[in-house]
């Protein structure tokens, strides 16, 4: 009896809420897992016989090569901007983050549009210089093309993480290596890369999960992957059971990647090896070397942001009169509204869970923390399948409840914006949680403990002490989630309610209907808004580091 009372006393509002949120995250995934173990039908056999090898090999190639290229580009750029001074360095330092504002699917059809026979490059060659070129050199709709696109628009994940690692970590080590006679190339490959392994692996994992989650690029380029197969089996063949099976197989791939990360990273986190942080003093490059560094950084910046942006501007200029109407304003409002609401909810949920897991360290809270960061690993399409299934079940329940009381049946689904936002929260909670958790980690527990020892109850402490302390992390989390939702595609496409589209789904719809010019206005707006958010985030982060 005593122990029961003890256990009950330990159950507090934080634990209950955290538990509820976790159930919410797990349910849609459980739907997939349960369905994975039902016996396969004839379609599943067909998929195994004719498609699975292709799907697996395409996915493997995309993952391996995108992993390699993003690592090389991300780390080398981070390295260059950290240890050298060269023309425009201060601008490029954060400018190189901005390609994150470009959703890869927009990059994909923009590049296809530019390189195409009727695109600006070939048209100029043809009309101005009478040069006809071999199409082979301009074909981007392929596996290689997908890798190119993913590399350009995903490398910043690695760049950002390794850059902050280099800035805080490497001064003495690099100086020692230089003293020992290593040249720049040697320092990079023999010291920097191995040393920053944990940081890089963290970044690469995000890149790989993004590649797996992608629907827009591979669908547009006609590369068969897990996600396109899920869509095809579920929708074209009308066979949700086999779609569940593909989704389950994909989950195994995701788990392998996460285990791989865990294994390689070991116990290392990309945090400081010593508490003393001495920022590295960048070396002034002169002459040819300065221009080489500038040229490389600027080339990546141009390919990943400047050039696509100019192309989209041109297309938008051509079509905006027909596109930017009242309807377009609604699109903007919709996109802002759902992204802001979901980001707000995520921040609240993340605060509650993060507060619980840091204050009440137990096996249970550790499990909760782990599950919280799982959502991001699950591709949006899979979450959508699970969420729809759950909401239908809920609706049936409400339906019979209403009927029971002799009321006119009503439906939760009528407000299915709730369903979309619910799915966003599951998918992007990780992003908010990571930000807030690291915020809490930085300030530690001492202030909270002091406050509670002075007799302030936990809830009051939470609002008066904890939240103000991690304000920066909350803002960062909100911005990151907001941008992610603004760019999100497959989940939104599957769950958007009536009369409701976002800039993202509209842009993709135009592009996929072979109206690339018309897709430009919405695409441009997504990029500009995301760009501003990322810029703000960068500034907030910078301030946080200086204090």
């Amino acid at each position: 009896m005593k122990s029961v009372l003890h256990a009950i006393r330990r159950i507090n509002i934080w634990a209950v809420l955290s538990f509820l949120f976790i159930v919410m995250i797990l349910l849609p995934n459980l739907v997939i897992v349960v369905n994975f173990f039902t016996p396969g039908n004839e379609n599943w056999q067909h998929i195994k016989d004719y498609l699975l090898v292709d799907i697996l090999s395409n996915t493997a190639i995309l993952l391996v090569f995108t992993g390699i290229t993003t690592t090389l580009i991300g780390t080398s750029l981070a390295w260059i901007v950290t240890v050298y001074k060269f023309p425009l360095r201060n601008f490029l330092k954060w400018g190189l983050i901005l390609p994150l504002a470009v959703p890869p699917f927009i990059g994909a059809y923009t590049y296809h549009g530019m390189l195409d026979y009727t695109g600006v490059i070939q048209a100029t060659l043809r009309n101005q210089f009478q040069i006809e070129v071999d199409q082979k050199h301009f074909d981007i709709m392929s596996l290689e093309g997908s890798i190119f696109i993913f590399t350009l628009f995903l490398y910043p994940y690695i760049y950002v993480i390794t850059k902050s690692f280099f800035e805080q970590q490497s001064a003495s080590i690099v100086e020692n290596a230089r003293l020992l006679g290593a040249n720049s190339v040697e320092v990079f490959f023999r010291v920097i890369l191995p040393m920053s392994r944990a940081a890089i692996i963290g970044g690469v994992t995000i890149v790989l999960l993004e590649v797996i989650n992608d629907y827009g690029v591979v669908k547009y380029f006609g590369v068969q992957t897990f996600i396109t197969s899920i869509f095809q089996t579920w929708f074209a063949m009308g066979d949700i059971d086999s779609a569940f099976k593909i989704a389950g197989t994909l989950m195994i791939v995701v788990i392998v990647i996460l285990l791989f990360e865990h294994f390689i990273r070991g116990r290392k986190r990309f945090s400081y090896a010593s508490t003393k942080i001495r920022p590295i003093q960048p070396k002034q490059l002169v002459g040819f070397k300065a221009w080489l560094a500038f040229g490389y950084a600027f080339l990546v910046f141009s390919l990943a942001l400047l050039i696509p942006l100019l192309q989209l501007l041109y297309w938008a200029f051509m079509t905006y009169e027909d596109i930017v109407t009242v309807e377009f304003i609604t699109l903007v409002k919709n996109s802002f509204m759902v992204a802001a609401i979901a980001a707000f909810l995520i921040v609240v949920v993340a605060l509650i869970i993060a507060n619980y897991t840091r204050l009440y360290r137990s096996f249970f809270s550790k499990v909760i923390a782990r599950i919280t960061v799982l959502g991001y690993s699950i591709p949006g399409a899979i979450i959508a399948v699970g969420v729809i299934t759950i909401f239908i079940a809920l609706d049936d329940l409400f339906f019979s409840l209403f009927a029971l009381f002799g009321q006119e049946p009503g439906f939760v689904l009528k407000t299915s914006l709730i369903m979309l936002i619910f799915a966003y929260v599951i998918r992007f909670l990780t992003v908010g949680y990571n930000s807030i958790e690291s915020g809490f980690e930085k300030v530690g527990n001492t202030f909270t403990e002091a406050s509670m020892m002075l007799g302030v109850p936990p809830l009051k402490t939470f609002f008066k002490v904890d939240i103000p302390l991690v304000k920066g992390a909350v803002v960062s989390g909100f911005i990151l989630v907001f941008v992610d939702i603004l760019k999100e595609l497959p989940l939104t496409m599957l769950l958007q309610p009536f009369n409701f589209q976002t800039l993202s789904t509209k842009a993709f719809q135009y592009a996929n209907d072979e109206m690339v010019n018309e897709a430009a206005s919405a695409s441009l707006l997504i990029i500009i808004i995301s760009g501003i958010c990322i810029f703000i985030f960068h500034k907030v982060l910078d301030k946080g580091e200086q204090s």
């Binding site: 239908i392 339906f399 496409m493 719809q509 010019n517």
Partner: protein, 290 residues
């Protein structure tokens, strides 16, 4: 009457309608391809509509046998050829494109696309599974490149010299010719439109159409809406906007379409496209049509 719209890809919306069941707010479902409409009916998501207006405006062949869905616009899946390198006298049928003469010259998009699935489904209906599979194999053998991009991309590739003929829907040609981008227009002008199988089974046609959903709460308004879409006025706007053929025979067709002339259509009830869809996909997978 106020009309609320949710947009998406046909088969995704269908799946959603299915999952929503009685909870759906949708009264009318509009989608491209008879295959989608037929599957909608097969899943029990539509209801029969008795309407004299619709019976009069829409030909028998372009609607469901049980009046559960109605075609609203029509397009042909034709052979588009390079005016420069192909003499139309070389062209005859879809089947002929599998002959050796067309090796490495044929452009067509992926088997994931519903237009190709429906084309294949029509061949299963007309020629039997075995012949249809042989045709798909022959097309794969003669492909100028791996399938990629949309119909527009196939036509552009013809002009760029990657292949000589492409299989594409008529309205895409119309769209190129009427584009705001002068480069698109130039591409369109270098292409010819050929209606295959005129001496045999006819050119494959398909529709965009509408159905009243099974659980519609406003059946009368939904019916009135579809009736309106089939009227001459709406048909002309509807078809003109996307260079499609109207189903209402009293409606005028666009100038672009007129310039290609009349043609003989495949004579199958479009319902079969839905019935054969899954088999079509399987056969295309089996011959390695990406």
């Amino acid at each position: 009457m106020e009309v609320n719209v949710v947009q998406g890809k046909g088969n995704e919306l269908m799946e959603r309608l299915d999952r929503e069941g009685e909870a759906t707010e949708a009264d009318v479902f509009i989608t491209a391809d008879a295959g989608n409409l037929a599957r909608l009916k097969e899943k029990g998501l539509t209801q029969a509509i008795e309407s004299d207006v619709l019976a009069q405006n829409i030909p028998e062949k372009l609607k469901d046998t049980d009046n559960e869905w109605f075609g609203l616009t029509k397009r042909a899946r034709v052979i588009v050829y390079s005016l420069e390198r192909v003499d139309p006298s070389e062209l005859s049928t879809y089947e002929a494109l599998t002959e050796e003469a067309w090796q490495d010259r044929v452009l067509i998009r992926s088997s994931e696309n519903i237009y190709n699935q429906s084309l294949m489904a029509s061949f299963i209906e007309l020629n039997g599974e075995e012949a249809a599979k042989e045709w798909a194999q022959g097309i794969v053998d003669n492909m100028a490149r791996e399938p990629k991009g949309g119909d527009t991309d196939q036509m552009t590739a013809v002009v760029a010299g990657e292949g000589d003929v492409a299989i594409a829907n008529t309205y895409y040609v119309g769209r190129l010719l009427n584009s705001e981008n002068p480069e698109d227009v130039k591409v369109g002008e270098q292409l010819g439109v050929f209606f295959p199988n005129q001496d045999s089974t006819g050119t494959h046609i398909n529709i965009s159409g509408a159905a009243v959903t099974k659980h519609a709460s406003n059946v009368d308004n939904a019916t009135a809406f579809i009736e309106y879409l089939s009227s001459v006025d709406a048909q002309e706007v509807f078809a003109e906007a996307n260079n499609e053929y109207p189903v209402n025979e009293e409606a005028e067709i666009s100038e672009t379409l007129q310039s290609w002339g009349d043609f003989k259509e495949q004579d199958i009830n479009l319902t079969t496209l839905g019935n054969n869809n899954a088999r079509a996909i399987q056969l295309m997978n089996e011959v390695g049509w990406k």
